[in-house]
């Protein structure tokens, strides 16, 4: 036991060495997400965005809150895309670093276990693309310190199903999904429910496991079922691989996807295979509102932003509005101020509902891939 205590003490001492003193006119904002592991592409993009925006605020002299100018310090930690590390990081951000609010993470499974810690520490979190309904609402009760700036899975699934049935006139659909991924399983569930409710038939429902790179066995089976559309609710690496393999096998069905799709990588890897495909997105890339952010990001980091950057951008906007409205850099006050807040973000109008802490009425955009470009089709709201 002595040794145990000694080790604990040693750990504590090392950790204590990492913490710094606070400045009274500096507001600390936390971020968490994956900087390592297979989600690292998105995490890096989000942290870059958050850092860039707060640097811009600082360079402009800071932000006036309750009659006092404040500067910002961003503290970002890696969680490997892992729920357990998210819990550790949330405790560190709230307890040790004393941030007033947290931006991120992108994965729902990482955001859900943060709730009890946030409640205890009274620090709000604004998730970027965590689309599982249970991130903000559990058993009909809203979680007081969890917010988000994106639409949710049931909505996205309904949009995809509605668009496929009504606009693409698809009557039969196949689904290929990642059985070990929560995001993929969620979208697949809501797509199926809504597509069948409309009167369509799911002719094949196939899955793979995270980490797989070959989908031809499942695609061969889907080919035999001959669907009008194939719904592919997963991320762009797998989308590009499965689309290429589908075309190799001679499948000509229209491919349909969700917000895991958009990326430059999809076009460079998917090439001709993804031409003519549709996906549900949070925004239209050609929208004048987003151009400024896109070019600022590219100028600073030398590469294009991923989708997550736009939502991280809006999460920061929502936070700053909440901070101004609260009038003091205090987590509890900011959380109160965020309820019902109404902000014009670059991904659309964000009105945080006090009942669900979701941005109510945020429309989804349908994009089509034409000549390697993401072409906006329409704003589509599911009924």
């Amino acid at each position: 036991m002595k040794k145990v205590l000694f080790a604990a003490l040693a750990v504590a001492l090392v950790l204590a060495g990492c913490g710094g003193g606070g400045d009274s006119n500096v507001i600390k904002v936390g971020w968490l997400g994956a900087l390592t592991g297979d989600q690292a592409v998105w995490g890096e993009n989000e942290l870059n965005t958050v850092k860039m925006l707060f640097e811009e605020y600082n360079a402009a002299g800071g932000i006036e809150v309750g009659g006092k100018k404040y500067q910002f310090e961003v503290i970002g930690y890696d969680n490997k895309g892992d729920a357990q590390e998210s819990v550790n990081v949330t405790k560190r951000l709230t307890g040790q670093d004393k941030v007033v609010a947290i931006i991120g993470p992108n994965a729902s499974g990482n955001a859900i276990p943060m709730a009890p810690i946030l409640e205890q520490a009274k620090v709000p979190d604004i998730a970027t693309v965590a689309t599982n309904p249970k991130v903000t609402v559990q058993d009909g009760k809203v979680k007081p310190y969890n917010f988000r700036v994106c639409f949710i899975d049931p909505y996205q699934g309904a949009v995809a199903a509605g668009f496929a049935y009504d606009k693409l006139n698809a009557r039969t659909a196949a689904v290929l999904y990642d059985v070990s991924d929560d995001y993929s399983q969620g979208l697949r569930e809501f797509f199926k429910i809504n597509f069948e409710k409309k009167g369509g038939t799911i002719v094949a429902d196939e899955s793979f496991n995270s980490g797989d790179v070959d989908f031809r066995p499942q695609l061969s089976k889907i080919k035999a079922a001959n669907p009008d559309v194939i719904f592919m609710p997963y991320f762009f690496k797998e989308v590009a691989l499965s689309a290429n393999q589908a075309r190799d096998l001679g499948i000509n069905a229209t491919l349909l996807g969700g917000d895991g799709w958009p990326s430059d990588q999809l076009i460079s890897m998917g090439g001709k295979a993804v031409e003519g495909s549709y996906f549900v997105n949070h925004l239209d890339y050609a929208d004048p509102a987003v151009q400024d952010f896109k070019s600022r990001y590219k100028a600073k980091y030398g590469k294009e932003t991923e989708l997550n950057g736009f939502l991280a951008h809006d999460a920061v906007l929502v936070f700053v509005e909440g901070l101004k409205k609260a009038g003091k850099p205090n987590g509890e006050a900011i959380a109160k101020a965020l309820e019902g807040i109404d902000v014009q973000g670059i991904t659309g109008r964000i009105h945080i509902s006090p009942e669900t802490h979701n941005p109510e009425g945020k429309d989804a955009a349908i994009l089509k891939i034409v000549n390697g470009q993401y072409i906006f089709q329409e704003k589509y709201a599911a009924q």
């Binding site: 059985v179 790179v213 066995p217 499942q218 290429n244």
Partner: protein, 292 residues
């Protein structure tokens, strides 16, 4: 019938990728009697070497291919020197080798994330990607090329082990390292050769994996499957590794195609365990006695 044949082709294609990875594993296992989990990381580096050879250095394919293979040969030897040799000298039990290998695997993956970045990269098109169409069937060109190159490199390997003096020494060492050393064989050299060969094969596997799919830091994870395949075929046996890989590829494909893709890996694991229960050393595994 068409679907059956197509699925068979799919299975062979998946199996051949497993085979390329499994042979390196099995080769090291045959001498060292431990599963070299760092092999996946070395394969991943091979994919990156080949990629940068083609894109950054704009080398012709054959040169980039050799660069990758010799690059990973070097990496495998460095890993051996740093992570295994000190253990070898202390005659540590195989568990320590495995843990050291896992450490190396974590290190390699995250080294790539930290330096090159987490994004995936696409190989430039070296061979045309359009498949050969035989009526309603589609066979990937790359699959055929992979098949040929794997066959060639495997026959070279078998030739090397069967005909050369060093190869004979490897064979002898795989029976009994201690006795082999007593007979005057420089076992350190043999072990280095084996790791070098394993690394060379990892480079080949990495380049082809990258061409067929894509390059990303987590490629190493896929090698869990090839490890299973090697066990399935019988650890330490090169033909066993190939056979196990092809069988695993076909089983997976047929389970996904005809039974349930949701439970594909589950059923594949059940079959694996059933095989092990019936044949406790895999299909062609060498029988190792428990050493004191």
């Amino acid at each position: 019938m068409v679907q059956f044949l197509q699925q068979l082709i799919n299975g062979l294609s998946i199996g051949s990728v497993y085979a390329l990875m499994a042979v390196g594993y099995s080769l090291v296992y045959s001498i060292m009697n431990f599963s070299n989990f760092a092999h996946g990381g070395v394969i991943m580096l091979g994919a990156y070497f080949g990629f940068f050879g083609l894109t950054l250095l704009k080398l012709p394919f054959a040169v980039a291919f050799l660069l990758a293979s010799f690059g990973t040969l070097l990496v495998a030897i460095i890993v051996e020197r740093i992570a295994y040799k000190p253990l070898r000298e202390r005659k540590a039990p195989f568990l320590y080798f495995i843990i050291s290998a896992m450490g190396a695997s974590i290190l390699l993956e995250n080294l790539v994330i930290a330096t090159i970045g987490p994004t995936f990269r696409t190989y430039p098109e070296v061979f045309p990607k359009t498949p050969i169409e035989l009526g309603p069937l589609a066979i990937g060109r790359l699959d055929l090329i992979i098949f040929v190159i794997s066959a060639v490199s495997l026959s070279f390997l078998i030739f090397f082990i069967d005909k050369t003096k060093l190869g004979k020494a490897i064979q002898a060492a795989s029976y009994n390292v201690k006795a082999c050393a007593l007979m005057g064989v420089n076992t350190d050299k043999v072990i280095l050769t084996v790791f070098g060969l394993g690394g060379f094969l990892a480079g080949i596997a990495g380049v082809f994996f990258g061409m067929k799919y894509t390059v990303y830091p987590q490629i190493g994870n896929i090698t869990t499957k090839s490890f299973i395949a090697a066990v399935f075929g019988g650890l330490g046996s090169l033909p066993g590794a190939v056979l196990g890989s092809v069988l695993l590829g076909i089983i997976e494909t047929f389970v996904a195609g005809y039974l349930s893709s949701q439970f594909r890996d589950l059923i594949a694991f059940v079959i694996l365990i059933a095989v092990l229960v019936l044949r406790p050393t895999g299909i062609m595994g060498k029988v190792t006695e428990d050493k004191a």
